[in-house]
């Protein structure tokens, strides 16, 4: 059904505004990152950059961005893998097995996901200090896994619930143990859910700033958000380098999301419509 022209025009204008509005800060950063130092400090500010890549060079080599990228890759990947390895069987159990108090477990998970970070910051720091996890990557991965697990479990449980029980029973009759039925039949079918959970977990770990700042004080161990935030010196504010680094930090996420776009869309919209 096509709508009348004025309505369509209004819709179009609305969409353009919404997209521009949310992209504007990012566009400004991309533009800034491509300027030269003179352009950045020019008053009035110039819109169009001259395409200089000096900030990228400086961010990558003077500020050792590769080091931060590497740290982020390690922390975010480890968080994602560990969270999913734990969340998958947990979600499967919650979705399938008759358990007393299942509702309370799921509700509890949701509550944990809603804790303000500052509430648990102190205890987390103390625990990590006690067990020697400060200034280590695993010390950061640990709270990340804890904080991303509820969401991952929820997403996956929703998925497992939608898969017909008969498939699993057919697999059992065909010769599978419960575990085999899970990874040979249920996991491939829950792939969109797993992608969704994985990407959301990865994005969380990649972007997280507060705990990273709290736990990692050694610049050699710091992740991207903390590293970039600490670009600024006592008397300098290297806008250009920060912009270039931010663009570089965002690119992997954009690539990742584009790559798995279809999986994520069906993941996020599942449950809305029975498919």
């Amino acid at each position: 059904m096509t709508k009348p022209l004025p309505e369509r025009l209004m819709l179009l204008v609305g969409i353009v505004f919404a997209v521009l509005g949310s992209l504007l800060p990012f566009i400004w950063f991309v533009l800034t990152s491509l300027k030269s130092q003179i352009q950045v400090e020019a008053i009035p500010p110039t819109w169009w950059p001259d395409g200089s890549l000096e900030f990228y060079y400086s961010a990558l080599f003077d500020h050792e961005l590769f080091n931060y990228i590497w740290n982020s890759v390690i922390v975010a990947s480890a968080t994602t893998i560990i969270a999913l390895v734990i969340a998958t069987p947990a979600a499967y159990a919650l979705a399938r097995i008759r358990l007393a108090g299942k509702v309370w477990v799921l509700g509890g998970l949701l509550c944990v996901a809603m804790f303000p970070q500052i509430v648990i910051a102190g205890p987390v720091w103390q625990i990590l200090e006690r067990i020697g996890g400060l200034n280590t990557h695993w010390g950061l991965v640990l709270p990340y896994v804890t904080l991303t697990l509820p969401l991952a479990v929820w997403i996956l449980a929703t998925f497992f619930k939608e898969l017909p029980v008969e498939l699993e029973e057919a697999a059992q009759i065909d010769g599978c143990t419960t575990w085999q039925a899970l990874y040979k039949v249920m996991l491939p079918l829950a792939a969109p859910g797993i992608f969704t959970a994985a990407i959301l977990t990865f994005i969380y770990a990649w972007n997280e700033f507060f705990f990273a700042l709290l736990i990692l004080t050694d610049p050699a161990k710091q992740t991207l958000p903390v590293g970039i935030a600490l670009f600024q010196g006592e008397f300098t504010m290297p806008w250009g380098e920060i912009a270039a680094a931010s663009v570089l930090a965002t690119l992997p996420l954009i690539l990742l999301v584009l790559l798995f776009q279809r999986g994520i869309i069906s993941g996020l919209s599942s449950g809305a419509v029975k498919g």
């Binding site: 008969e166 029973e169 057919a170 697999a171 065909d174 010769g175 599978c176 491939p188």
Partner: protein
Amino acid sequence: MAGFTLTQLCKSFGHTMVLNEISLEASDGEFVVLLGPSGCGKSTLLRIIAGLEAQSSGSVNIGNRVVDSLPPRDRDIAMVFQQYALYPHLTVRENLAFGLKMRKESTAVIEKRIGDAAELLEIHELLDRKPKELSGGQRQRVAMGRAIVRKPKLFLFDEPLSNLDARLRASMRVELKKLHQRLGVTMVYVTHDQIEAMTLGEKIVVMDQGHILQIGTPDQIYHHPINPFVAAFIGNPPMNLIEGSVHLEGQYLEFHAGDFALRLETHAHIETAIHSDSAVLGIRPEDIKLDIPSEPHLTLSGFIDVVENLGGDHIVYLISQEQHLTARTTPNSRRRAEDPITAYVPLQKLHVFVNQVRIPLELYYH
């Protein structure tokens, strides 16, 4: 191949008893149909045989082996589900191979079995498709193929045809029957459809509310239903059932239901008198004749209410002595609503149930 024995199976969910002392035996190669209305426990019984559900008490024996403690994969069974339950991420070929691979069969054996099954079910050209590219009937065939390739001791079917349209259901029914004839393997088939039960079953088990009401061949179940429930459940249009009181004494049988009265002389002498106010008189629609039969019969006069023309048959709804009766007769275009009519019922076709139990009247009329 093997038969199976169920011994006093009980199953309860919490305080709800869904199966009550179910005992059943099937010989090697028999086609057993579990028939009953939804919620009668027939599917639960099938799932207990499969090992997908654990019984609360009692025992399952498949091929002279007690399988109570075995998981489904070790029971040497195959099951066809109502929703087909094909693995959506695998092709038809992979679906068929799945169970064989799990059992570590060699590639040569797997290829051979898939080839044989594909030939039997005529699904050769579907082997490289995914389940979502198949029609309902094709999916059903593949689901059966997945069961066949395994060469199990026992086939279990959980309402496999109920998702198909009427025409396809009829043709799949025939194919299932052929399949059973060719494979000669024991099959257990759950359905609420009395036509499927009658056409497929060699042994029909009629269930209601967790109990087995009657076990018998289709003919036994149809002609000698053990109680009014079984009588009404089998047959289409359903049996006419008239509730009233009965008195059996000496050579006489008397039945009363309001204005409807019946007094018959039997050929036998009934030694102990039977009297009950909870009696049911049953007459199958096709046993109500509109032409005078030669055997001893009962005569009913009344008038026609409605005539349904099915082409080959007419279903005549008639009212006699305030009782609404259904008759299935040969077509006759001269019948009109409200016309007077006289109908006849051969005496040996009457079913009489006293206190929910069949009185074997055939003993009294030879």
